[in-house]
């Protein structure tokens, strides 16, 4: 697979809120912000299954899947996503996840560890601004100022 596209061509991301989660507000803002930052955004909205994320990523040849989970079931909902990506042949795709990932106020280091172990490349605490994710993605994709 070609991970290093032409710098001019807009990078593509698939965006969505996983599981039975209906928190739509952050998702709207993420879509708006990533678009404004020059990304091509395929926004699946809320209540997105792992299968839908993967299908959309394959269809759009996306560089990254940005998963949100707000409602607390993120831990259950996200398990096995990396594995399914591997099975579907997009095993190296960037996986980011953010929101209120677990039930209850939990030290973030602990949460990050759990989700990294599940195969996520970046894990964001509650209240993260889109700018943070955008900067990281540029960096991970080798955009301006980032390593390839």
């Amino acid at each position: 697979m070609d991970d290093r596209k032409n710098e001019q061509e807009p990078r593509k991301v698939v965006l969505g809120v996983i599981g039975a989660d209906v928190h739509a507000v952050g998702n709207r803002i993420l879509e708006y912000s990533f678009r404004n930052a020059g990304f091509e955004v395929e926004n699946l909205g809320v209540m997105v299954s792992q299968e839908e994320f993967i299908a959309a990523a394959i269809e759009t040849a996306a560089d990254a899947i940005l998963v949100s989970s707000l409602y607390g079931h993120g831990e259950i909902d996200c398990r096995g996503l990396r594995g399914r990506c591997v099975e579907a042949g997009i095993g190296r795709i960037l996986l980011y996840v953010g929101g209120n990932l677990v039930v209850g106020k939990t030290p973030f280091a602990e949460v990050e560890r759990r989700f990294r172990e599940m195969g996520f490349d970046r894990v964001y605490p509650p209240g993260t601004l889109p700018e943070t994710g955008i900067a990281d993605l540029r960096c991970d994709l080798g955009g301006p100022g980032g390593a390839a």
Partner: protein
């Protein structure tokens, strides 16, 4: 069956009921006659409609948390704690998100995992999986009324189990538990499913069991202008009353501008009573529910206490019958019981301290209240028109055409054209009125509100204002000023 706003006939109800109770094994435990007997024996202190009526008489504002965990014993402990240490007047049982999707298999897994890990992996209580006996145990463990709070588009089985399980109040409605809580469930389906829930409530009422039904006021909790949530509340009230519901609690999510918040509760009571009366539902009691700020919270706990205090104060000054309380953990996750009780006590201090200062009749409040009523009437009358007299049909058509339109709702049956933003004093107004059927005068008012703010901020009216307003409270402001 095509949807219409008529009382569900007995045989039709019975037919559906057989299906519903078969949806999950625990449905088999529901025996209506036995459940009526059980409900009748519940002491007055635990009967929600009675407690609300008493509060309305005394002019006090009752305090209620949100709370729910995966396992029965833990829920009992939690509710007892909130009653004792949180001084809660009313208790909830918040249902988990799998149950809300009728995904009882997933809920079962969540119960198992929670047992195994010794912590709740569900964001609420899976009442259907636990069944009638477990619910009764929960209710019998406490001394105050317990209401089921959820967000379930199809809550028929949940309602059956809840009422048989001794709960005396049930939140939700065909609009308010669809549009903010679902992506692709048709309104025809949820309206019909909630006719069932309301009819179920009605037949309990006919057996002398009084139950409270509460449309979910705050909708998406994010900059919802009062007229939109009021219109939904009134419609759900009318649809419920048609099915025989006798006790309604109509709700509103705090916007943050004091005059608007007080006026919203005042107008909500007035406009609900007006329409119930106009449509001939005369023996229905109405109480009001004030939800403390429902949007994004500040992460810092002390700042969260500030927001909670402001919600408590506004609730008391508005004279709402009850206030639903947030916690200092809001920005992070489902609160610990200690955090939950702390939110309750901070609120209790203020609602009791301020109970003598209701300010519903100042000139400012009356003017704002009159405008909210006028806006709400615009919407409701167009809904009736669209439905050619049938409010259920009208509701479906109104959403299809954007006459009813909830900001930031995930449902694809919601137009999503309306954009709200705050005016220069922080009241929520319409930046983009979409297809809301307002008079020119009302539209002009909203436009001039936005222009006033734009002038002050020296920037154009636009979507950036909306984004700034969404983040504002979590960043310590109400109006999202440019930085």
């Amino acid at each position: 069956m095509t949807l219409s706003n008529h009382r569900l006939p007995h045989d039709e109800f019975a037919r559906i009921r057989a299906e519903v109770l078969a949806q999950w094994p625990t449905g088999a435990d529901v025996d209506f006659a036995e459940a009526v007997a059980y409900q009748r024996a519940i002491p007055d202190a635990r009967r929600l409609p009675l407690r609300l009526a008493a509060a309305a008489r005394e002019g006090t504002t009752l305090v209620q948390p949100r709370a729910g965990v995966a396992l029965v014993d833990d829920l009992v402990d939690l509710l007892r704690y909130l009653e004792k240490e949180g001084e809660a007047d009313l208790l909830p049982t918040t249902i988990d998100s799998y149950t809300r999707q009728n995904a009882y298999d997933d809920a079962a897994k969540g119960i198992e995992e929670s047992r195994a890990q010794g912590r709740s992996l569900l964001n609420g209580f899976p009442a259907v999986n636990h069944g009638v006996a477990a619910c009764r145990r929960v209710n019998e463990s406490v001394g105050v009324p317990v209401q089921v709070r959820h967000g379930t588009p199809d809550a028929r089985l949940l309602a059956e189990i809840s009422y048989a399980g001794g709960f005396t109040g049930f939140e939700g409605g065909g609009i308010s538990y669809n549009i903010p809580y679902a992506k692709k469930v048709p309104l025809e389906k949820t309206l019909a499913d909630w006719q069932y829930v309301d009819r179920l409530t009605g037949i309990y009422e006919e057996q002398g069991v009084s139950l409270d039904r509460e449309p979910f006021g705050p909708l998406t909790g994010t900059l919802v202008p009062p007229c939109i949530s009021h219109a939904v509340a009134v419609l759900e009230s009318l649809l419920a009353a048609e099915q025989g519901v006798r006790h309604l609690s109509v709700g509103y999510g705090q916007c943050g501008n004091l005059v608007q918040d007080i006026a919203a509760i005042r107008s909500l009571r007035l406009v609900t009573e007006e329409y119930l009366d106009r449509f001939g539902y005369r023996d229905v009691t109405v109480s009001t529910v004030f939800h403390q700020w429902m949007g994004g919270f500040p992460q810092d706990e002390a700042k969260a206490f500030g927001v909670i205090g402001w919600g408590a104060a506004a609730a008391a000054l508005s004279g709402a019958t009850k206030v639903i309380v947030k916690t200092p953990h809001e920005a992070f996750g489902v609160p610990t019981r200690e955090a939950n009780a702390a939110g309750l006590r901070a609120t209790k201090q203020l609602v009791v301290m301020l109970c003598d200062q209701k300010s519903t009749e100042t000139a400012e409040v009356r003017a704002e209240s009159d405008r909210i009523v006028a806006e709400t009437r615009c919407i409701l009358d167009r809904v009736a028109q669209l439905g050619e007299g049938d409010l259920a049909v009208g509701t479906v058509r109104a959403f299809a055409s954007g006459v009813l339109d909830v900001p930031f709702a995930p449902s694809r049956f919601n137009a999503g054209k309306v954009l709200p933003a705050r005016d220069d004093r922080g009241a929520v107004r319409l930046l983009e009125p979409g297809a809301l059927p307002f008079t020119k005068e009302l539209l002009d008012f909203h436009r001039s509100c936005m222009e006033g703010r734009a002038r002050h901020e020296k920037r154009e009216v636009g979507f950036q204002m909306v984004i700034d307003d969404i983040y504002a409270v979590s960043k310590g402001r109400l109006v999202g000023r440019p930085r």
